[in-house]
């Protein structure tokens, strides 16, 4: 039976890691993810789990050690945020191209500069093309649930890709909220034992990992990665279905909240989706046909599914918690717009940037966004494309 608890997002993920009891966790502290390895180290010291914890001297090393452990045949993961992930840059790509099913629990934080410790998505969005699976959470519950599903997805033989489990820095990582936990043995049975087909510590089969690939092999290798990413679509849905059977909580590529008959939609990732839901409820009470699409899986990107879910809407606000500085909005805006274009969608779309460096976004902000969407639909023109929400002007 579900265990009623109250935990911060960091505690929730650390607890999921305890229940998974992976083989190896190398880590280096950085705000706001520091608590995760801290809790895990405590669990290990208390004899509650037997993961090999490796304190390393940098994030370059933590990801290198995770890559090494995974290649050796271990179920391995690490945690980081922001500039810590930036220092892992090289290894992120190495993990993906070597097809190592390791995990990174990322607590999203703005990148420097200006130096800032608060939430935005510029760290993980910057790594969107590194070949990692990326799954985002609205709250502590989803961060916990996603962590428990992580290895089942990444280790699937059709996938074999590293997975990033993201949650919003401070907003969920440090907020204590109610949560329903699963029993240890239920998680253990769900996650299962990791049995890699090939691994470096197998004396029966010496092997080489990460050989040089000249031009004649490089693109073929990348096609393998892309294909694995496509395979992950079905695996993510299958694992979610199995997870629903043990938890009663249902997950897909995204959550649709009053979207079915909505004229005006907001598309968003992460904790602000919860705030948006309150705005949807308030506006629905006044007869406004508003809805929300909360994207959970960003990699692989469910382009076709998003376009289909938005097809009946008059206008949509694509909300980015990072700017790409392309002069053409943020990464989510670019990819959703592409999806809508390829589907020959008639939905008018606007791409707003919000919440950079922890800038708060309130229910009232979403109410204002929905009212802008109404105007856009009525006039047929999009003004303030790429607007910054909550900016002092």
């Amino acid at each position: 039976m579900a265990i009623r608890e109250r935990l911060s997002g960091n505690e929730a993920v650390a607890l999921a890691i305890k229940q998974i009891n992976p083989d190896v966790m190398p880590a280096f502290p950085i705000t706001p993810s520091t608590e995760i390895p801290q809790y895990v180290a405590n669990y290990i010291a208390n004899g509650q789990m037997d993961t090999e914890f490796i304190p390393v001297e940098s994030e370059h090393s933590s990801m290198s050690a995770t890559v090494g452990a995974s290649a050796a045949g271990a179920r391995a993961l690490t945690a980081t945020s922001s500039c810590g992930m930036a220092l892992m840059w090289e290894e992120l790509y190495v993990a993906a191209s070597n097809r190592l099913p390791l995990a990174l629990t990322l607590v999203n934080r703005a990148l420097s500069g200006p130096i800032n410790i608060n939430c935005d998505h510029s760290d993980s969005m910057g790594a969107r093309d590194s070949g990692w699976l990326q799954i985002y959470a609205e709250n502590n519950q989803e961060a916990y649930d996603n962590m428990i599903q992580a290895f089942r997805i990444s280790e699937h033989k059709d996938v074999l890709l590293p997975i990033m489990i993201c949650q919003d820095g401070f907003i969920t990582s440090h907020a204590v909220e109610n949560i329903e936990l699963l029993e240890d043995d239920v998680v253990k049975a769900f996650v299962g034992e990791y049995q890699p087909e090939h691994y470096l510590l197998n004396p029966e089969e010496p092997m080489a990992v990460g050989p040089y690939a000249v031009s004649n092999y490089y693109m073929e290798t990348k096609m393998g990665q892309r294909t694995a990413m496509n395979h992950a679509r079905q695996v993510i849905l299958d694992v979610a279905e199995e997870f629903a059977a043990i938890s009663g909580r249902h997950y897909g590529f995204f959550e649709e909240y009053h979207l079915e008959d909505a004229d005006y939609a907001v598309l968003i990732i992460g904790s602000a989706a919860g705030t948006c839901k309150d705005a949807v409820d308030a506006l629905r009470a006044n007869g406004k046909k508003v809805g929300l699409l909360k994207l959970r899986v960003f990699r692989p990107f469910p382009a076709v599914e998003i376009a289909a879910a938005l097809a009946h809407c008059k206008s949509v606000a694509i909300m980015d918690r990072s700017d790409s500085f392309s002069g053409n909005g943020g990464p989510l805006g670019a990819e959703v717009s592409q999806a809508l274009y390829n589907a020959r969608s008639n939905v008018l779309s606007v791409n707003y940037i919000y919440g950079l460096g922890g800038r708060d976004i309130r229910v009232e902000d979403f109410e204002d966004i929905y009212s802008r969407l109404e105007t856009i639909a009525e006039t047929g023109t999009v003004v303030d494309q790429y607007d910054y929400i909550g900016l002092r002007k």
Binding site: R6, P32, I117, N118, E138, N139, D168, F170, I171, T172, H174, A175, V176, E177, N178, S271, A272, G274, T275, K277, D278, D281, A282, A285, G358, D360, I361, R362, V363
Partner: protein
């Protein structure tokens, strides 16, 4: 829509306003409520003004923004009255609780015209009398429970005793003092 109680805490780094907010979330959770307890984070600096928040509700809480129109405000350090606009957005049907040695009439002029209910509690006096040291946390927590009525004082005291027994398993001698601080607060808050 459900009734959600929103509380904002003002303190100084190191005084435990964040801890008090988390404790309140904790004890409200134990009485069956849905809770949120979260600090507004910046670089951590001892003595700098900090803000923490609580939402307590009988239905799941989804909103993840800060609290701008709280029903209740707790001021853990009276010197903040000058530095911070502690009554900003505070609903007039709500209340503010100030930890101070001063009287209510001395505090009122510092509240920028706030015309809702004002309560004071001398957490220092209570803490010194019951614990022999100045920990404003426990009295402030009890004061907020007394004022907000988010739970019955009896169930609050019962849950706090259990949590102290757990927290101070290795120094049970301080449990009694902490419990006395809570009980004394219920009598003293005015």
């Amino acid at each position: 829509m459900s009734q959600t109680v929103e509380i904002r805490w003002h303190g100084r780094g190191g005084q435990g306003a964040k801890t008090a907010a988390l404790l309140l979330a904790d004890v409200a959770f134990k009485t069956g409520m849905y809770v949120q307890g979260f600090p507004e984070y910046g670089p951590e600096r001892m003595g700098a003004p900090i803000t923490a928040y609580n939402r307590i509700s009988d239905t799941p809480i989804r909103v993840h923004s800060n609290i701008y129109t709280p029903q209740y405000v707790a001021v853990v350090d009276e010197t903040l009255l000058e530095a911070v606009d502690v009554t900003a957005g505070l609903r007039t049907d709500g209340a503010i609780v100030v930890n101070t040695t001063k009287s209510k009439s001395d505090i009122l002029p510092h509240l920028r015209g706030y015309n809702g209910k004002v309560y004071t509690i001398d957490a220092k006096k209570i803490s010194m009398a019951t614990l022999g040291k100045y920990y404003p946390n426990s009295p402030m927590l009890a004061a907020m429970v007394a004022i907000t009525k988010v739970m019955e004082p009896e169930s609050f005291l019962r849950e706090m005793e259990l949590s102290f027994q757990h927290k101070f398993a290795k120094k049970p001698e301080v449990i009694h003092g902490n419990m006395e601080a809570l009980k004394m607060t219920f009598k003293e808050v005015q």
